[in-house]
């Protein structure tokens, strides 16, 4: 890492940052955990997901809507978080509980003599960025023309791309992050079937891909399917994002599963981050996180806890389940070897602290914590699958909505394939094996030489998955057959909501939607349809477009209506994948 310094001034406070890291990392390193405040409640807000699609906004002189994941290449940067008037902050904090989704509809409030001044006041004080009139270089569109476009450069994406390239196919890989390798690029656990850590495995793949001069595009986001083309965007930081037109015969999505924030009391406090982001901060950016708690009962939670302990961030593993039933060897041994504290059977969980997390109350026990890492549930890039007419169903083993697909990852849309974790495989070696099988399959569709080996590869992949994870294999074969039969799986598992106070469990941090809001929508207004709940509460309509609240929302609704998530279903997804600036869209040449 080159240690060139960048001077960042946040709200008048000077901070020292290195240039090659995202602003958010720099702020976190400097102890700044809170960026803004909640829209209705005025509670402090930090980030939960450290990803290229971060919905938080910072305001600089050049861009009122600066993505905190941007890297900046100028010497000085003055940014501020959006401020609201003091009176607004005081009022909303005082009556914060009442400013919920129901607030404008309360009997006194909705009468015109009261509502008119209230609405004026609320409008005037919205804690939103104010747009600024700036000039600057215009963005320019580029075109990427290829046979197959792979979205995601994790183990599956790269394995697929390398194999297809070796078979003679023309392939391009896009990755939204600055770093290739996806989740594996900061995961140092040694997993079954691989001799090295996943990190060195994927670094090896990246090296090979670069040696073979594969077409790798970093910092490029797949932004959506449209009637007249597929759109991508190259993230520009302070410069305009440049639109990209993807011209490809086939799209292969290796977008993985996204970690979701857990549901416990005060889960909106800065310091609550998802496990993958915690690992990214410690393992990749070497940020000292302090003491932490990991929530979850699965192998990713165990892997996170082990690695955090090794990195010196004292980790406690907490779960609502009675035992660590979701964790198997070698991670159980790993947890023992690293002497990770494990607390099971927690009923009530609540974070405490003013402005940021200081501790976690697990039932009667107080666990000191500077951060809480959620590793309870995931879901794939549903926004892409919804747009591309891929059918989506619920899989209880993975605990997520998943795109339905065939053994080669083929979906209801003939030009779209899904591979890797986003297809429902939780095991890296199996991901890699299935990705290669898909490569052989697409090679045969493209009429490339060596096209007849696909079936053999598929058998290897099936065996690898069945051998290591028979449960995942069964679930996976169900997703496969459910695509064929258009039926939906039965499910038994539910995600736990750990608190007695639904006012402080935030499901959607963008729109400040709490569990109480969902409860009100379902129980008092009788909205059973996710589309109606979404429109009443505003869940999934905020800046992250449901990337943090989609599955939590489905779980919350299904637990309140008593219908399984497969019946609750999901809502209609629309482009774009990330919010894109007007000037970039203006540069499109369809």
């Amino acid at each position: 890492m080159t240690e060139k310094l960048l001077r960042v001034t946040l709200n008048g406070k000077e901070l020292q940052c290195t240039r090659n890291e995202p602003l958010a990392v720099c702020l976190y390193r400097n102890g700044v955990k809170s960026f803004n405040s909640g829209y209705k409640s005025q509670r402090p807000r930090g980030f939960t997901n450290l990803e290229w699609w971060m919905p938080e906004r910072l305001q600089s002189e050049e861009d009122a809507f600066l993505n905190p994941y941007s890297r900046v290449d100028q010497d000085n940067l003055t940014i501020r978080s959006h401020k609201t008037s003091l009176s607004y902050q005081l009022i909303t904090r005082m009556i914060g509980r009442f400013i919920d989704s129901e607030f404008p509809h309360r009997p006194i409030v909705r009468k015109r003599p009261f509502w008119n001044p209230t609405s004026k006041y609320l409008r005037k004080n919205l804690p939103n960025p104010s747009p600024i009139n700036v000039s600057g270089e215009k963005a320019k569109q580029t075109v990427v023309e290829t046979d197959v476009l792979v979205v995601g450069s994790g183990i599956s994406g790269l394995s697929f791309a390398l194999k297809l390239k070796q078979l003679g196919g023309k392939v391009a890989v896009v990755e939204g992050d600055y770093v290739l390798g996806g989740r594996a690029s900061y995961d140092e656990s040694i997993i079954y079937g691989l001799t090295n850590s996943t990190r060195s495995y994927v670094e090896n793949l990246v090296r090979t891909a670069k040696n073979e001069s594969a077409h790798l595009l970093q910092n490029v986001v797949f932004d959506g399917f449209f009637d007249d083309g597929a759109l991508g965007v190259e993230l520009g930081g302070l410069r305009a994002d440049a639109p990209i037109l993807f011209k490809a015969k086939y799209f292969v999505f290796a977008t993985g599963l996204r970690d979701q924030p857990s549901l416990f009391g005060n889960n909106d406090l800065p310091g609550h981050i998802v496990a993958s982001s915690a690992l990214k901060l410690t393992n990749y950016y070497h940020v000292k996180l302090g003491r932490g708690v990991v929530i979850g009962n699965n192998e990713y939670a165990a892997r996170t806890a082990i690695q955090l302990k090794r990195a010196g961030c004292l980790a406690t593993l907490v779960t609502g389940c009675e035992s660590l039933s979701g964790v198997r060897e070698p991670y159980l041994t790993g947890l023992q070897e690293e002497e990770v504290d494990i607390i099971t059977g927690v009923r009530q969980m609540r974070a405490e602290g003013r402005g940021e997390i200081r501790s976690l109350m697990a039932d009667e026990r107080r666990l000191d914590a500077d951060f809480i890492a959620s590793a309870e549930s995931w879901f794939p890039a549903l926004e892409i699958f919804g747009q591309s007419n891929v059918l989506v169903g619920y899989c209880d083993w993975v605990g997520s909505m998943l795109p339905m697909h065939g053994w080669y990852g083929e979906t209801a849309n003939p030009s779209v394939f899904v591979i890797g974790r986003s297809s429902g495989i939780l095991d890296e070696p199996a991901c890699s094996a299935f990705a290669e099988a898909t490569a052989y399959h697409i090679a045969s569709i493209l009429n490339l030489p060596a096209k007849n080996e696909a079936e053999g590869k598929l058998d290897v992949a099936k065996a690898a998955l069945n051998d290591r994870y028979p449960d995942n294999y069964r679930a996976y074969s169900n997703i496969v057959s459910c695509y064929e039969r258009s039926e939906i799986l039965n499910e038994t598992s539910r995600r736990t909501v750990y608190t007695a106070d639904p006012y402080t469990v935030f499901i959607c941090p963008c729109e400040d939607v709490t569990l109480h809001d969902i409860h009100r929508a379902v129980k008092e207004h009788g909205f059973a349809d996710i589309e109606l709940v979404k429109r009443y509460t505003g869940i999934c309509t905020g800046k992250c477009q449901g990337k943090r609240c989609h599955m939590s929302g489905i779980y919350a609704i299904s637990s309140l209506t008593g219908k399984p998530p497969s019946i609750t279903g999901t809502y209609r997804q629309r482009p774009m994948v990330i919010t894109t600036s007007v000037e970039s869209l203006e540069a499109i040449e369809p």
Binding site: Y39, H525, R535, V582, E583, E586
Partner: protein
């Protein structure tokens, strides 16, 4: 299943009719929708309301509707967030200015005068608007925006509380006739017998009407729409740029800027979808009209259908040539939300008392055969 009045279509029109029926004491009302309430066009709309139309008929109808809209928050259990923030038409063409000038005289007579503005006035009061090439603007202070979903939910709530029924995910397949009488509707679930059937199916109305041999001149027209990330309130009125393919933009209560442009024009299709062409043209118009939107970020785009009639005005009531007991309330040509409160009331009068309000009379289905179309050119927003 048997009912007095069956409303086919659970959008804002269907629910407004049902709401007015239950309000007038007719509790035996059933509304059916093929998906959830509002799933057709209501939840997809940009949610502006205005009283300014080029024709007297529409202007008078909209004035009545506005009165009811302003009271909706007091009457319903939901607050439709009605905000009379005004409409502002930006004019670039002498001929168009002339038309506005003439119509404004009429608007004054009808009690809803708009305010003419010079580009200098606009610069002073709305400095964020680019006035290059603009020759004048008209500002309608009576107009504004509301939250379409909350008005819809208010109706839904009131209907359910007063004993009406709303059946979701029930698709009307066929009108059942008994000679020259309509006796009910066959649905995807079961048959529903009804004394009176009202088709409020929006752009899809013809699909059900055709099963009884009736056809109305309604064409679906796909419109794309786009919403930007929340920002501080700075776009005060609803802005309409009459030059740039009728670009319009509204900033909602939450600070999101929602708007559209008449491009590309797609008719006679029921396929939802979005185009890059729209995004490009819309962004160009947005940046040109309001330069500060340059760095604003687009959250999402979607599409929906205008139910367009040859004279861009709705069709209410029934034609004497139709089978008995069949009524229609559709063809609102993009103005369904703002016309709904009064359209529902007028239809309820017709259904219960067989009374045709004079304001509703010009919108009769037979006007197209009679050659008595309404001359309406102000169709955007």
């Amino acid at each position: 299943m048997k009912t007095n009045v069956l409303v086919v279509g659970g959008g804002i029109i269907g629910l407004s009719i049902a709401y007015n029926l239950v309000k007038k004491g007719e509790k035996d009302v059933v509304v059916i929708d093929r998906k959830y309430v509002g799933s057709g066009s209501t939840t997809r709309c940009a949610s502006g309301f205005r009283v300014h139309f080029f024709s007297d008929e529409n202007t008078l109808f909209a004035i009545e509707s506005r009165k009811r809209l302003m009271k909706a928050g007091d009457e319903l259990n939901f607050n439709p967030l009605v905000e009379p923030i005004g409409y502002m038409w930006l004019l670039y063409d002498d001929a168009i200015l002339d038309a506005y000038r003439k119509t404004n005289v009429r608007w004054g007579q009808l009690g809803v005068p708009a305010t003419p503005m010079t580009p200098e006035d606009v610069n002073e009061t709305h400095p964020y608007i680019n006035t290059d090439g603009m020759i004048a603007a008209y500002y309608g202070p009576q107009d504004g925006e509301l939250h379409h979903d909350f008005l819809l939910y208010g109706y839904r709530d009131a209907i359910l509380k007063r004993g009406g029924k709303i059946l979701e995910y029930v698709d009307a397949k066929k009108l059942l006739t008994n000679g020259r009488r309509i006796k009910g509707v066959e649905t995807s679930d079961t048959s529903i017998e009804a004394d009176k059937v009202v088709v409020a199916g929006g752009a899809w109305s013809n699909q059900i009407l055709e099963t009884a041999g009736v056809k109305v001149p309604i064409t679906p027209e796909r419109k794309e729409i786009c919403v930007m990330e929340p920002m501080k309130h700075f776009i005060k009125p609803v802005l309409i740029n009459t030059k740039l393919k009728s670009f319009y933009i509204i900033q909602t209560a939450r600070g999101e800027a929602i708007g559209s442009i008449d491009h590309p024009i797609m008719k006679d299709t029921f396929e939802y979808g979005n185009t890059l062409e729209f995004l490009k043209e819309y962004s160009r118009a947005a940046m040109h009209t309001i330069p500060a939107l340059r760095k604003a970020r687009v959250l999402r785009v979607w599409s929906g259908f205008y139910e367009v009639t040859p004279d861009h005005s709705h069709i209410l009531g029934r034609s004497p040539e139709w089978p008995e007991n069949l009524y229609i309330a559709a063809g609102f040509s993009g103005h369904g939300l703002l016309m709904a409160p009064f359209a529902g009331e007028a239809m309820a009068d017709l259904l219960l008392e067989n009374r045709i309000t004079p304001l509703m009379e010009p919108f009769r289905p037979s006007r197209f055969e009679e050659g008595k179309q309404i001359s309406e050119k102000l169709v955007i927003g």
